[in-house]
């Protein structure tokens, strides 16, 4: 079976700084992958290269059997790649419902090539907000939300595009323990519906309970990839996190 996502030898530099150095990564359909690494290790840069926000200098990304080289970010979203941003980036002039309407209009509709009736769209927005527990606030503006609600909106918007693969970039940073549980449960539910999830996270308890497999980036290189309990004992990973 070929992988859903195949990252092959990706490198990216910013001036003289090597952010990514020949990264290889495979993700199988339906998998829950955790991606960890110290600050500045290149996790977000990798996400940006996969999603088309940044262009990698070498290597290529294959998704669902197709090469993504040269495709703009929105085209990759159309192919079934979705992401949430590390710092929530809602459309602040729109209500929550309208925030979700955007991927429905521009991705789902474009992909399926059919016209949803307006009431249909509204119902779908409501359904998605309900999934993350924000249905009661459908008509409110993003500025009225708390941090955890903002993260949920971010995930709901990514989900609205009906992706095959969801990349959650530090969806839990700065949240309380119960809020983390909340988001984790949500991600597991999504995975049970058949969506492949890559979780990028610093909070180890969350990563360990969520991930079936763990990959570790250190200074732009992948230093470990395997079962979570083996990876955290890997000497190189320990050295990167704790020093020698």
């Amino acid at each position: 079976m070929s992988a859903l996502l195949h990252v092959d030898n990706i490198s990216k530099r910013f001036g003289g700084f090597v952010a990514l150095d020949g990264i290889e990564l495979e993700v199988q359909a339906g998998e829950r992958l955790g991606l960890i690494g110290p600050n500045g290790s290149g996790k977000s840069t990798l996400v940006n290269c996969i999603c088309g926000t940044l262009q990698n200098e070498t290597g290529n990304v294959t998704f669902d059997g197709h090469k993504l080289d040269g495709l703009a970010a929105h085209q990759r979203t159309h192919r079934g790649l979705a992401r949430s941003f590390q710092l929530p980036r809602p459309f602040h002039s729109m209500s929550l419902a309208d925030n979700l309407r955007i991927p429905l209009l521009y991705t789902v509709r474009a992909r399926e090539g059919m016209l949803h009736a307006h009431s249909d769209l509204g119902a779908r927005c409501h359904e998605l907000l309900d999934m993350v527990g924000l249905a009661a606030k459908a008509q409110q503006m993003p500025r009225d939300l708390t941090q955890v609600e903002m993260r949920k909106l971010e995930l709901a918007r990514a989900m609205a595009a009906e992706p095959k693969l969801l990349i959650a970039d530090e969806a839990m940073a700065g949240l309380s323990h119960s809020e983390i549980e909340d988001i984790l449960a949500l991600l597991v539910r999504l995975n049970e519906r058949g969506i492949t999830v890559i979780l990028i996270e610093h909070i180890m308890s969350a990563v360990m309970s969520f991930s079936q497999r763990l990959a570790v980036l250190v200074s732009g290189r992948k230093v470990a990839d395997g079962k979570p309990e083996d990876v955290v004992r890997d000497p190189e990973v320990v050295r990167a996190y704790l020093g020698q």
Binding site: H74, T77, R89, F91
Partner: protein
Amino acid sequence: MNAAKFALIAFFVGLLVLAFAHWLKIDYFFFAGYTILQFTVLATAWNILGGYCGYVNFGSAAFFALGAYSSVFMHKVYPLPVPALMLVGAVVSGIVGFGMGYLTLRLRGAFFAIATLALAVVLQTLVVNWDFVGGSRGAYIIRPETIDIGSLQVNYIEYLFVLMLVLAAIVLTTARTIERSQLGFGFATIRDDEMAAEASGVPTLRLKLIATTLSGAFMGMAGAPFPYYIGYLQPSSAFGLEYAVNSIAMPMIGGTTTWIGPLIGSLLLGTAQQYTTAYISLGTGVNVLIVGVILIVFVIIAPNGLVGLVQEWLRKRRKS
């Protein structure tokens, strides 16, 4: 209310304005009204890119002048009726809008604004050095006194006024239709956060090109009849500061997020300017000065314009 209904209402309001003007029996009304309507078109066109997408264009005068100068060019090469000239102006300015968009839309914020300003300077320099359209001397176009439409003999200024009235109705209907369409939602995501827009599947570059093309084309249409209106076109009047300033100030004072904002802004400011021109003779720069002062006041006390003020007031009332 759908677009067709709105267009019908806009047309009807236009007829009322025309009837009112006839009832007044003041020729100057057509003269002044033309200028105000021209600013309604410019302000609404600017707002399609500046208000809906959040890309500030300082080069409105260039698109306006392109429309005006394509009329001068056609007048010398192959004279056409004014409505056809407006279409020519739309095509020329639309193409330049597309080109400008393609070259500059990777820039954001202040950098984009500076690039549009540069475009205006480059085009003005070209026109000043192009003898065929008059160069720096300017070009004369003798405006006929009247025009025959069927068996009707119409004052030429009134004819231009009606054309501008129709154009204003078309541009306002287009702006309002965009606002409520998928395109309008897409424009708003560009204004809010382009990276998030791309991640949601919005083809931002394509949408921005649609906006620059449309916005440029409408400005060109507004400029096309101008040589006939003014009779003598010179680069410094076609590329005048007042077009660039008014196109920005009017939507900002009215409110940039809805079609009605530029309309209100242009009617208020346009009328005020016509009034000061007619009744107070303080020199030529006074119009731009007034706009500047009002704009500063609005930016400080009502950054979302008059429409924003009203919306805020309504929201507060609903809450209490």
